[in-house]
């Protein structure tokens, strides 16, 4: 996941750098950007090239990397294994879960951010603090807490069993729903904060002006609030989508072994199977997908990266 984050940030940097160079940048400017350029070279470009090179190799018998300059790893990702497109399925599942999670965070995060932004100033800060308080606890601990809540002998099932509402425990944990709950819980604050920032900047006399001109709540939202808070929506969606698609801890713990996402596949390839070349290829495909999705999303939001 850290790898993915790196690549995302750097994607923007490099393309911007690229534009600078194409624009015929001269000596002094080059000198000024050289610290950043060196940083990018050392921590982004060189590792990326290494991953690319590894993805073109093959696993040796002892798990080492044998550089054979082949595209077999990429072919393997898109091929049938035992009658199923196993890896593409994992990929599609990750994409689906990440998109769904982004949508859920947006649907629940927007009203929350709007509510907070409309409070008196001193109360706003208190409410934002409440949104951020979960960060004070380690993510793993919070995930385990959710497992305690959702498991067969957890709070919810125990309560329902005691009340006699159910006879058998509900299957709340170790399935796709549990993974989505975990991701939604984990990433909702990342959606709320950028949304809040853009809603707070919205001049509410514009909302009144829309009402005054005959727009009801829904049309005011469509025509005025939504377009003016689009930067926050775009930023929040990207910040939630990218870590969601690469999520590893949540599907591993809350999905049991049943909901494999790309993050789990990567972990298996690197640490269990020790097939670094294939893992690198999967990582590369993930990176390109995220880059493509982000660009597409920016374009639809009327922005360029």
């Amino acid at each position: 996941m850290a790898l993915v984050d790196h690549e995302r940030n750097a994607g923007g940097w490099t393309s911007r750098l690229f534009r600078r160079f194409r624009g015929g940048t001269t000596g002094p400017v080059l000198g000024l950007i050289s610290p950043a350029a060196l940083w990018l070279l050392a921590f982004f470009l060189i590792p990326l090239v290494i991953v690319l090179l590894v993805s073109l190799g093959q696993r040796g018998d002892a798990g080492q990397v044998v550089y054979t300059w082949t595209l077999k790893n990429y072919a393997r990702f898109f091929s049938q294994i035992g009658g199923r497109y196993l890896y593409v399925e994992i990929f599609a599942r990750s994409l689906f879960i990440a998109l769904l999670n982004t949508l859920l965070c947006l649907l629940f995060g927007f009203p929350l951010a709007y509510f907070i932004a409309r409070q008196p100033r001193n109360r706003r800060n208190a409410l934002l603090l409440l949104v951020m308080i979960p960060f004070w606890t380690n993510f793993l601990v919070r995930t385990y807490a959710w497992m305690v809540i959702l498991r067969d002998t957890g709070i919810i099932n125990n309560l329902f069993l005691t009340l006699g509402l159910i006879i058998q425990p509900l299957p709340l944990l170790f399935n796709r729903g549990a993974v989505i709950v975990g991701l939604f819980y984990g990433y909702l604050p990342f959606m709320v904060l950028p949304l809040y920032a853009s809603i707070e900047k919205l001049d509410f006399s514009l909302v009144e002006a829309a009402h005054d001109l005959g727009a009801n709540a829904l049309r005011t939202f469509q025509r005025v609030i939504l377009p003016l808070t689009m930067p926050g929506i775009v930023a929040g969606s990207i910040i939630v989508f990218i870590p969601s698609i690469g999520a590893y801890v949540t599907p591993d713990l809350m999905g049991g072994a049943k909901v494999t996402m790309i993050g789990n596949l990567l972990q298996q390839q690197f640490l269990k199977v020790r097939d670094w070349p294939f893992g690198s290829a999967v990582g590369f495909i993930l990176m390109l997908t995220v880059l493509g999705a982000t660009l597409l999303y920016f374009r639809s939001g009327g922005k360029t990266l």
Partner: protein
């Protein structure tokens, strides 16, 4: 019977324990330019927002064109507002801004573009359709805000200190233009301002508000010449207040003694009791400055020139009367500078201040 565009009956608005508007009643006539005038915090903007539907009265009723509007949301009221900061939609062009209200009413698009063009012509911004609000000057944004409201042909146009952000010269221009516009469209304007000169310039009638109350409603002349109370006299224009006691009363004149021994006569129609404490209000421009005492009827009191301030059109004098009573006098500089010099007092000079008995007012309380 004259028709009433907006009526407020015993309208009160409380925010928590704060009474913003205190049981006011107003009848705003169809087609009139009506101003709500008062210092900040007097409840004028709250009153306007209750007419617009942004606030609901705590008590009392609002009627628009004779219909009670309690519970009718802002977007269903046939009123439009020009906001203090214009509140133009920054993500839309001028044309889209102006068209917004018509689109909400689902007016056919051919008619929309015709009416938008008309409205922009009316506010003298032809051909500005495709500009963005941030490409316009403050005065132009103001006009777009006007066009955006007027294009809907509302029953009542509500204006919340719309000229507050403009510089003085532009503000004066816009005052006349607004007045002219109101005549042309014939729509009732309800105008909120704290600027008394602005209210006097534009309004058919003015309601002076203070601490949630309406103190006086009247034409600019009535408000200026016959203020109902000390606050109105003080807020609108400049006034000298002379505190005294009623001495006596004879055929339409009341004699007031200002301590220690200044006797003045004031034309009075109302009943006043002898020995009653009273305030005499007299506007600085109603007072004449003369070198010799006048023998004709009226008031003529000796004094000493304390200060002379030349302000172009006028010269202001501060005169001290007996017992340290100070009085302001304002004289128009109608004559040439050299004559003026001979005529006007100098600091320390002995002069007489004179005014007619019906130029002053008695204010109770």
């Amino acid at each position: 019977m004259e028709s009433i565009a907006v009526e407020l009956r015993n309208v009160t608005k409380r925010f928590g324990s704060v009474v913003a508007v205190d049981a006011i009643s107003l009848r705003i006539r169809d087609g009139e330019f009506f101003s709500l005038l008062g210092p900040s915090g007097c409840g004028k903007t709250t009153t306007l927002r209750m007419i617009a539907g942004f606030e609901q009265p705590t008590e009392g009723d609002v009627f628009i064109a004779g219909q009670p509007v309690a519970g009718v949301p802002a977007f269903e009221r046939n009123t439009n507002m020009v906001f203090q900061n214009y509140a133009l939609f920054p993500h839309m062009t001028v044309a889209q801004n102006v068209a917004f209200g018509l689109e909400m009413k689902r007016v056919p698009s051919a008619e929309i573009s015709r009416r938008v063009t008309e409205a922009l012509d009316m506010v003298r911004l032809p051909g500005m359709q495709n500009r963005r609000p941030n490409q316009l000057s403050g005065g132009q944004q103001q006009r777009v805000a006007l066009a955006r409201a007027l294009v809907n042909r509302p029953e009542v146009l509500l204006l919340d200190e719309p000229l507050g952000a403009l510089d003085l010269k532009l503000r004066k221009e816009m005052q006349l233009e607004l007045k002219d516009l109101q005549h042309r469209v014939g729509i009732t304007f309800v105008y909120v301002t704290h600027d008394q000169e602005e209210a006097l310039t534009m309004s058919d009638r003015i309601a002076v508000m203070h601490l949630g109350d309406v103190l006086q409603v009247g034409t600019p002349t009535e408000i200026y010449e016959r203020p109902c109370c000390r606050f109105v006299a003080d807020f609108i224009g400049e006034t000298n207040f002379l505190e005294g006691q009623v001495m006596g009363r004879e055929d339409g004149h009341v004699t007031v003694i200002i301590p220690p021994d200044i006797r003045i006569q004031v034309a009075a129609h109302d009943e006043v009791a002898v020995d009653q404490p009273i305030t005499v209000a007299v506007r600085p421009e109603k007072i004449r400055l003369v070198k010799e005492p006048l023998t004709s009827a009226g008031n003529c009191v000796p004094g000493v020139v304390q200060e002379v301030v030349y302000i172009g059109t006028d010269t202001q004098f501060l005169i001290s009367l007996a017992g340290g009573v100070m009085i302001r006098v304002r004289q128009q500089n109608r004559i040439s500078a050299s004559e003026q010099f001979a005529y006007a007092g100098e600091r320390g000079e002995q002069v007489y201040v004179a005014w007619a008995t019906d130029s002053a007012l008695l204010l109770g309380e």
